[in-house]
Amino acid sequence: MAKKANTVSTNNDVIKSRSQFQEVFHRLLKNKGAVIGMIFLLVLVIIALISPLAFDYETQVIGQNMADRLQGPSAAHWFGTDEYGRDLFARIMWGSRYSLIIGFGAVTIGLVVGTILGAIAGFKGGIWDQLIMRFIDIFYSIPNIMIAVVIVSVLGTSTVNLVIALSFSAATGFCRVVRAAVMTVRDQEYVESSYAMGLPTWKIIAKHILPNCLSPIIVQYTLQVGTTIISASSLSFLGIGVPAPAPEWGALLSGGRSRMRDASYLCVLPGLAILFTVLALNLLGDGLRDALDPKLKK
């Protein structure tokens, strides 16, 4: 508080005061879990970016080398090798690319589609609301994995199709969250006064309504990425996700399953990769929720 008073009452220089999001970021930094989650994700993104430089995809990630098969962790192969002699460390590193692209890709598509539908439903109300929300309810009532299985089996297995399949369930979540947020913001007086100011409707939605709905959307986004990464891995585990021999984490788990007794690291390490990534996303999501709405926590 004292800090704020200072920035306000000083001389005539133009002072950039702290916006709401700067405040939120400040609060977020005080949350240890969220900071750990953020750092982990940052590291993961860096790993995903540098993995092509560290390992050659053709030879080291999918190239088989029967001489080295099923070696435990060692200095040469940090995480050991699988039953085809492929280096597990390289595969897990490369796998982060798949998980991140699928997770963020599917959720971003879901975000765009869901936000548009949710904004229309929340803003227009009436028949539009009914139509859109009942349609969304239909999707909501079917388990995510089931929808994804159906879509992938219709479109065929590929990474792009997997992203499309998973974006469906992400979109339903966003649609609900955005609709609820828009409905509360829609009747605020500043929205009414923007009408009185002569702003066209689309501008009011874009400049006044959606920015005020951001908090729940951001939280939903981070949490949804975690869920989607798990779904993607589950689908790959079932063999309808990213096609072999790509090193998707779920596929690695599935591949190591038969060797669980003698080479447990084949399952444990990719499993840990999934676990930590999703945990980091959830920590960040929870931290964001508390930071965006401090009243909730106290």
Binding site: E189, S193, A196, L199
Partner: protein, 337 residues
């Protein structure tokens, strides 16, 4: 006619919900000259805000529906304008100040941006020019320029209302509609804000419609006053007419329910009963069921506005059929003079 800013005729607005047809405004007519301030006074739910929103054609639809009437704003009937034309009028010719400054500003935009937004929209100026103008407006309402980069949560209630006024005045509107601008503020801030509005209106040659249920505020800044009851104007005239030559029983009731400075010990005399349900208005004069002077004739026919004559100004009109009897006189006027 030339010096009229606003001419409303027989405005009827209904809110049509599934279970009732709410008659919010039932044939309001009034005129507003240049540089005059009209006070719309009445109880909550009398249709004041709906009337004001109609001027901008902003009645929420559904369920609101402007059934009939015309609203001529500076020679143009706003009810016949297209959406694009309306957007040009809103904010530019007519600006509106809302009741609660706490929620009237967007929390994620700086106040400067919010003032500049309206300028940018209606005038062909660059972003920088609009921002300059915003700062100028802030100075005008008594806020330091450098605070243009602050967010609404860094302002107090009174300052927020000043910002709202700055937004409304940024495009130099011909008509300012203030919907209970001081209701949410404490009394000292109220006085400041009213004083500010009064001065700015004079300075910019604007007309204003002030919606309020505070008769003190009306006395302070209004030239003309219209008393609204159940969607109809029951008495209209200059402030002097209404305050000193009260003619409608309802207006009298309003004054009686105010504490009297001269006789402090006296009990307040509220108007008996409640406002009629606007979805089920009584026949005839809608004030009749609460009116101490009411006769059987009152619930037969809706009284028309009639000129008062006598000591009042030519503008003074009252909608009460009791004046069919030339000897009829309100209690207030009887023992007052």
């Amino acid at each position: 006619m030339a010096d009229l800013v606003l001419d409303i005729k027989d405005l009827v607005v209904h809110y049509e919900t599934e279970d009732a047809d709410v008659h919010a405004v039932n044939g309001i007519s009034f005129q507003l000259g240049k540089k005059t301030t009209l006070g719309l006074v009445g109880e909550t739910g009398a249709g004041k805000t709906t009337t004001a929103l109609s001027i901008l054609n902003l009645v929420p639809n559904p369920p609101g529906k402007i059934k009939s009437g015309s609203i001529v704003l500076d020679g143009v009937d706003v009810l016949k304008l297209s959406q694009e034309e309306l957007e040009k009028v809103r904010g530019n010719d007519v600006a509106m100040i809302f009741q609660d400054p706490m929620t009237a500003l967007n929390p994620v935009m700086t106040v400067g941006e919010q003032i500049a937004e309206s300028v940018e929209l209606h005038e062909k100026v660059s972003k920088q020019e609009a921002m300059e103008r915003a700062k100028e407006m802030l100075r005008l309402v008594g806020i330091a320029e450098n605070r243009a980069y602050d967010y609404p949560h860094q302002f107090s209630g009174g300052m927020k209302q000043r910002v709202v006024i700055a937004i409304a005045l940024a495009c130099n509107p011909k008509l300012l509609i203030a919907d209970e601008p001081t209701t949410a503020l404490d009394v000292t801030i109220q006085a400041q804000v009213l004083e500010l509005m009064k001065n700015l209106i004079r300075e910019y040659d604007m007309s204003m419609i002030l919606i309020t249920h505070d008769l003190g505020v009306v006395a302070e800044i209004c030239d003309d006053v219209a008393v609204v009851y159940a969607g109809r104007i029951v008495e209209i005239g200059t402030a002097d007419d209404i305050f000193n030559h009260t003619h409608h029983p309802y207006t009298e009731g309003l004054f009686d329910s105010l504490p009297n400075l001269k006789e402090r010990g006296e009990e307040l005399q509220p108007i008996k009963g409640l406002m009629p349900d606007p979805s089920n208005l009584p026949p005839g004069c809608s004030f009749a069921p609460r009116c101490p002077y009411a006769t059987d004739a009152c619930s037969k026919k809706v009284p028309e506005l009639r000129p008062v004559g006598g000591t009042s100004s030519s503008k003074h009109m009252v909608a009460c059929d009791a004046y069919d009897d030339p000897k009829f006189c309100l209690r207030r006027n009887k023992d007052g003079k």
